[in-house]
Symmetry: C2
Subunit: 140 residues, 2 copies
């Protein structure tokens, strides 16, 4: 994570306490927080941080390719710091929990040329959906 901060500094980022806190909150595996959740956790360490700053910082991290924006439910976007290993998402239809998963194969290979309609197809996102073990158990 300090790697991340150094990398950003190398790109001309001014290293403020707010940005540091946001980056720290996003550290870890299987982290998929909404902007408001990031704000709440950041505010626990830096009470006066504003929502606008969190949104700005998240937007910059996305632009820089350090964080991925995930929108699995049409509600709040979630921010995934696991940007350097290609992966897809498995979402629980009960509680909304998100897991990073690594399918075999390349989804792009499944889209033949005649199904591309002249588009320069650059990527594919796959969202798997199903009940997680906890929700499946609770339903019994």
């Amino acid at each position: 994570m300090s790697d991340l901060l150094e990398r950003l500094r190398g790109r001309g980022w001014r290293l403020t306490s707010q940005r540091r806190v946001v980056a720290e909150v996003l550290d870890g595996d299987h982290v998929h927080l909404t902007a408001d959740e990031v704000h709440a956790r950041a505010a626990a360490r830096l009470p006066e941080i504003s929502r606008a700053t969190v949104y700005n910082t998240l937007g910059e991290l996305v632009t820089l390719g350090e964080v991925i924006e995930v929108s699995t439910d049409g509600r709040a976007k979630r921010y995934d710091p696991n940007a350097h290993h290609a992966h897809q998402h498995l979402v629980c239809t009960g509680c909304g929990t998100i897991r990073d998963v690594h399918p075999t194969g390349d989804p792009l290979a499944d889209l033949p040329a005649e199904q591309r309609f002249g588009f320069a197809v650059a990527g594919a996102e796959v969202t798997y959906r199903g009940l997680c073990p906890t929700c499946a158990g609770a339903a019994v």
Copy 2:
């Protein structure tokens, strides 16, 4: 489309002019309108129709499985009447245009058991992204 209305009536739907207009607006191929676009087109034929009614009707059509809700950009959800043929979506990163596409293979087959983490995986949505011919041309 009258098929649709008859089917819904068979399920106990009360067939109001508002519902009829919403269903008619959604008729066609490669239709991916937002709720507000549906409302605007419906209002052209039935000026006093309210937004709440459009939202209610769209929600019911989704629940009944006659329309699919698509959320490709984290902004407004779009409504796709092509609910009876499995398909995926190809989205232009420039203008947001959406095409229905039919990839080969089954994305579910690409998620091995050890990547399912105990989830009862029920489905997968794939969103392909790239520049459409029009946007690619305009960029030159």
